[in-house]
Symmetry: C2
Subunit: 343 residues, 2 copies
DNA sequence: CTAGAAACTTTGCCCGTGTAAAGAACATAG
DNA sequence: CTATGTTCTTTACACGGGCAAAGTTTCTAG
């Protein structure tokens, strides 16, 4: 298999003109079938791959799609990123995965990096509070962007996420009708603004059912939610336990920490008799099935959310990006109650 | 802040010639200090970033470093990737993170993608059995490569990983001197060749201590280790429990599944009295601290391993890549026994 | 068979930077 | 102040493809 360096060489070796070969590489479907067959035949004889850098230099848009997540070591985002990547590839694009590592400055750098890569679009789960809002807005003004998981009002072509109100409502309803009403277990100073929405949704749901909201705010900074949940949980349990014996954690990672605390304190968690506490979470973390006891939670449908986000992005990119476009939309999906053993 | 599009414009606006500016961007230290100051002053007045594609087109090597991991949704690799990325950035390179998603074909595509990006080097944790060995070897022949976590004999400039023999020895020793000797809980058909090394190391360690190895091989395919551990664990417990009451899991993810199984079956795990089983793992998974009970395991020193891998890669890259270079080395680090509550 | 559209070829210039060569300006030591 | 090496400027070409225009061939429809 001879090695060929330039498109010129490849074109003459395959008996096709260079501009046509160029067209082929931009979109194999854009050339006549017989031509495509000849090119692909040549492609098997000759080892040739177009030079990425030369290709992208004069292209207005590349086939790159930026994927930015807050923290890759969080399995929730790991999973989300995985699905987004797969969908991008299936659509014929090259995903560029960047993690902000929980750091606003890093997020900004990631956007800068992306900008200089001239991506055709971007899928972004913003950090939230730590995000430099202007930087994100500036980025989204230049690159078609769909926000995921975490909304920044007014930025990007669309936001895709969880219907926090209904999701929290669902689990609060469930907890209230199956036992004592839940208190909310959350971080006093959460890095993620979703936490605030969840608190508000909790209060609303409790109010609707005629209960007084009870909030346990635990201290801690950063993204080590399990650790924070563990420490906060120990403190809560040593200080007399959960207000009502039922705890709704602001997210599954906190719940994992709280379950560990309960286990250490010998507090039995679950719904059977002999159980002293019920614990529920939100997100359906990949590990929620393996906690002890397994965690009752509200599942986000990663797959559908990612599918919607990618579909929207593709259509926005199609539309040339900066047309008058449609209104910005916020697409929120229902959470699905996942009943396991912890509540 | 005026926006400038080309290096030409930027050069004339800053009163420096373009070739010098070009030098500056390749290595700010390569120009005289006064010149650097003038350029950096201009950089603050003018908004300019060199075009990545034009830059890399004529460069033999870019400043990219490929980072390939088997499965990003596994927190172990998520964490490893995060550290590797950080180290690359600190060294002034741009990491390109690619996940093979547990699929050999995908790994091959990732290497292809990387190749066309002309990376200065690559850090790779191979899939193992699913890897296309020839593809990886071919890649490593063209790009300075350091293998991490999972060794493929003879490929790459160096392998950095865990000293499986000693790590397994350490935990087996500990388990044996603190209670009944452990059986090994593992997948019958593991996707990861490390598992085979661990089995061998287990047998050796047991032999050394005068015990007969006992292996519980559970069925299952793919990378859903927790699920496999859970099912296999349930089967084992229903079938009479662990051979000796002490279980060493081939990795922490299996252990997490086994702990969940034990919890469901009401089998108390730990070292206190009243405990029916001891469970230990290997890896020190980020979640091992939050299992119930917390998991005794052998920690891999991610940070040191990553540091060594990056340092080696940098020095190999320095050396021009394809010199006679040194011998290929295999650098293995000791595991650190982490005693928690499960064993 | 013929017209018109679609697809292709040819030609030629452009993109934004790397890089080499030759000479000018500058720094440092004596 | 002069010598010598550094660093910079100037000039010029290279890289590998994108893209547009004009002309040619091929396909499709009537």
């Amino acid at each position: 298999m001879r090695r060929v360096r330039t498109m010129e060489e490849f074109a003459s070796a395959s008996g096709i003109s260079r501009p046509t070969v160029s067209k082929y590489f931009q979109d194999p479907g854009s050339v006549r079938e017989s031509t495509r067959a000849r090119i692909e035949a040549a492609l098997e004889r000759l080892e040739y791959r177009p030079n990425v850098y030369a290709m992208n230099q004069n292209r207005r848009l590349t086939r790159n799609i930026g994927v930015v997540v807050p923290l890759l070591s969080d399995p929730f985002f790991g999973e989300l990123a995985r699905i987004l990547e797969r969908l991008c590839i299936e659509a014929g694009f090259r995903p560029i995965l960047l993690s902000s590592d929980g750091d606003g400055a890093r997020e900004g750098e990631n956007l800068d990096t992306l900008l200089s890569l001239k991506p055709a679009g971007a899928l972004m789960a913003p950090l939230g509070r730590a995000s430099d809002r202007d930087a994100v807005a500036g980025f989204a003004a230049e690159v078609p962007t769909v926000l995921v998981d975490n909304n920044l009002e007014g930025i990007g072509a669309e936001f895709v996420g969880l219907d926090v109100g209904r999701a929290v409502g669902t689990i609060v309803d469930y907890l209230c009708r199956s036992g004592p009403p839940p208190c909310l277990f959350e971080m006093a100073d959460p890095p993620n603004p979703n936490a605030r929405r969840r608190r508000a949704a909790y209060a609303a749901a409790m109010g609707r059912l005629g209960h007084e909201p009870m909030v346990v705010s635990v201290p801690g900074e950063g993204w080590e939610f399990e650790e924070i949940g563990l420490r906060g949980g120990l403190a809560m349990l040593e200080g007399g336990g959960a207000p009502s014996g039922t705890v709704l954690c602001s997210n599954d990672r906190l719940a994992i920490g709280l379950l560990a605390a309960a286990f250490r304190q010998g507090v039995r968690v679950g719904i059977g008799k002999g159980c002293a506490m019920r614990v529920a979470g939100i997100d359906d973390h990949p590990f929620a099935r393996f906690t002890c006891p397994s965690l009752t939670t509200v599942a986000q449908d990663y797959e559908r959310m990612a599918g919607r986000a990618v579909a929207t992005l593709l259509s926005v990119m199609e539309g040339g990006g900066s047309g008058p476009a449609g209104e910005r939309r916020e697409v929120i999906f229902d959470g699905r109650l996942v009943m396991r053993s912890s509540a």
